[in-house]
Assembly symmetry: C2
Homo-oligomer: 414 residues x 2
């Protein structure tokens, strides 16, 4: 008997019939002899409906109050799913974030989980109840409702799996697993059977929308075996797990892209200590998360600083940077929203050289100019003009040998 945490996303609980189907899956898992904890998102479209109400009220919502409103989406689905399970003659019980209790910090709309008290869940499991937990939400030390940001239900599921030391955490979504790249952009994309936490982390941070980044961090930290599966098929999905040294790693496991980027350059920054700190400190104060940062070597006592931010933070970032640039006597600020980040990811890179060079060659061969480069042990990212995104992804996918064989589309390389 295993303890399994399942998470179902918005499309999986998008209407009453789908909620009933999820209930059947939960019941089947329990009948197979397992303890089941289910985490659910809001019905697809519901969170947007609620955010639309908020923006009709005000264009500067108080985030505490916005969280109160948007957290209701998950509250509806847990009640409905618990009833749907009960309608199949199995015991079920729903829990809100504050009932579990999922303690978070007070960063409304993007709170982080601090602690999970799993006692009430264990108690319910002992009574053979299927436990249904609201994803995406928590409660801060003051007792206010918090939410974890887009995709936060993944994190809820993994955090609960970690707290319960669950045998597996299954993330049900509308795709059959993790792909070598986005199949919508590259028809030759293949589903992966396995992928390491680190690769998944890079893919997630680079814009593959399968899992929320923090959920992968949690899974890696607590070694939670994480399955990405489709709620509409019986495909075994993709297992996200620790690196298996017995297997030969492919050089590159996946190609990611992210169009949600914007680039800001500050030209002619005086090359003095504290200048960068002042600039990025100001952005931090505005809660703008900076992604890639590149600083050119100084020349004549001045340097250029270029960095990227999420496109949603673009206006705030640009205005903030303009103010600071003036104060620190920089020469100018350039801002560009027509950029995209394309990345190759693979733990195999650790032991191979020349991967980055090959990437640059592939892009150059297509006439794609590289605006910024950023690397880590297991990935290389290039910022390019957004209009080349699809072309870059497809070329890299082919060049790194990821294309699916022409005949058997279900085969995988590992």
């Amino acid at each position: 008997m295993a303890l399994i945490v399942q998470k179902y996303g918005g499309t999986s609980v998008g209407d009453v019939e789908r909620i009933k189907a999820v209930a059947r899956r939960c019941v089947a898992t329990q009948k197979a002899g397992h303890d089941v904890v289910v985490v659910v998102s809001a019905m697809s479209g519901d969170t947007n409906r609620l955010l639309k109400l908020v923006s009709a009220i005000t264009d500067r919502p108080d985030l505490r109050e916005q969280d109160v409103v948007v957290a209701t989406g998950e509250q509806v689905t847990i009640g409905l799913l618990a009833m749907a399970i009960q309608a199949q003659r199995k015991k079920a019980r729903s829990f809100l974030g504050h009932q579990v209790r999922i303690l978070t910090d007070s960063a409304h709309s993007k709170a982080r989980i601090v602690q999970i008290d799993e006692q009430r869940i264990r108690e319910a499991l002992r009574k053979h109840e299927i436990v249904v937990v609201a994803g995406f939400q928590g409660v801060d030390a003051e007792g206010s409702v918090t939410t974890l940001g887009r995709g936060g239900s993944d994190t809820t599921a993994v955090a609960i799996a970690a707290a319960l030391k669950a045998d597996a955490c299954e993330i049900y979504t509308d795709v059959t697993g993790v792909y070598t790249t986005d199949p919508n952009v590259c028809p030759a994309a293949r589903k992966l059977d396995r992928i390491t936490y680190e690769e998944m982390l890079e893919l997630a941070s680079l814009g593959a929308k399968v899992l929320q980044i923090r959920s992968v961090e949690f899974a890696m930290k607590y070694k939670v075996p994480l399955w990405v599966k489709s709620s509409f098929t019986d495909d075994p999905g993709t297992l996200v797990c620790e690196e298996d040294t017995k297997m030969e790693e492919p050089l590159v496991s996946g190609i990611a892209y992210d169009r949600n980027e914007a680039k800001i350059s500050v030209r002619g920054v005086p090359d003095e200590p504290g200048v960068a700190a002042r600039l990025f400190g100001a952005l931090d104060e505005k809660n703008v998360v900076v992604d890639v940062i590149v600083q050119n070597p100084a020349k004549d006592g001045r340097t250029d600083l270029t960095f990227t931010v999420a496109r949603s933070d673009f206006v705030t970032a640009r205005d903030t940077v303009k103010k600071v640039a003036k104060a620190i006597k920089a020469e100018g600020v350039e801002a560009d929203e027509t950029v995209a980040k394309v990345s190759i990811v693979g733990v195999g890179m650790r032991n191979h050289s020349g991967v980055a060079a090959k990437m640059f060659q592939v892009l150059a061969a297509e006439g794609i100019n590289i605006q910024l480069i950023s690397t880590s042990e297991i990935k290389v990212s290039c910022l390019i003009h957004s209009k080349y995104t699809e072309l870059a992804v497809r070329s890299l996918h082919t060049a790194f040998g990821l294309d699916a064989p022409a005949v058997d589309l279900s085969a995988t390389s590992r």
Copy 2:
């Protein structure tokens, strides 16, 4: 400076524009120098939308889970209203039932308030925040979400007013106050300036839908001055308060009717001790609330028992009674759904005789047969065939001098 609790119903917060209008009213009250606590219902239609989802899942909902789902309606409005107040540059803070905390019993879908901890509200008021509380919901000792039943937000408002010893509790609705009877049935109906708690209680229990009964009980018990006002006009509304002995009381203050009744008669019940207890005990077990009960004098060791129940409980009640009737060897059960209860209410009745007789004469003159009679100190109710409801109400309204003068419709008699 006064402390005022305002409650806005579903139509008053029915869309974003109306929520903004409510925010303006709250802010105006605070600007007039008062501390303001606002209780809100769900946006009109929202609770029904949620109940529809529930019934699409199952026709036998677990009431704990149903409460989880329907409580979200009020959660949305408190967040939106708090933001709408903030958009008018005033501080506001929302509170859910469990955050206040409004402790109830565990009778899901019709829970009763046991205790209110008003400390967090007081703390927020000290910070000059307008406090926005979710109506209709509470939390039981286990920490589960509970709801108070239809119209429960009225009770939330009055209970909070009582706990805070507020100077007034204002119930904003879509009518301008309490009327001598339903203006839809009787065009001559007049708005009352004042009405006593006891009269309001009788009117509310008799089917006038202006206020939830328990809210009036709470107001009477804790002597909370209760205003019924329209959120769409500046009409002063109706004050529900203690009896003012200096004023001359009219004989009858209002006429109420209730079509939500069903009649059940058990004929030939053996006239033995314990028989009635067995019958009504069985109904109580099924949570059927019995309204009027009449027992005929026994004849030949047998008697007839007739009583009324809410029409929603009709089938349960009839089936239960049939089983018990068989067990106690009664002769038969008759059930009738085509009944209505028409009542006259007035504290003035205490000191006058002949009121009931006059009522019977009026009904007789219209050829309306009386099926059951029930009286209290300040009301007389008659059960009649439901097809005569409007006729009975209009005739009684005229006969007891309640009709508005032909010219000035806004004048009142007290």
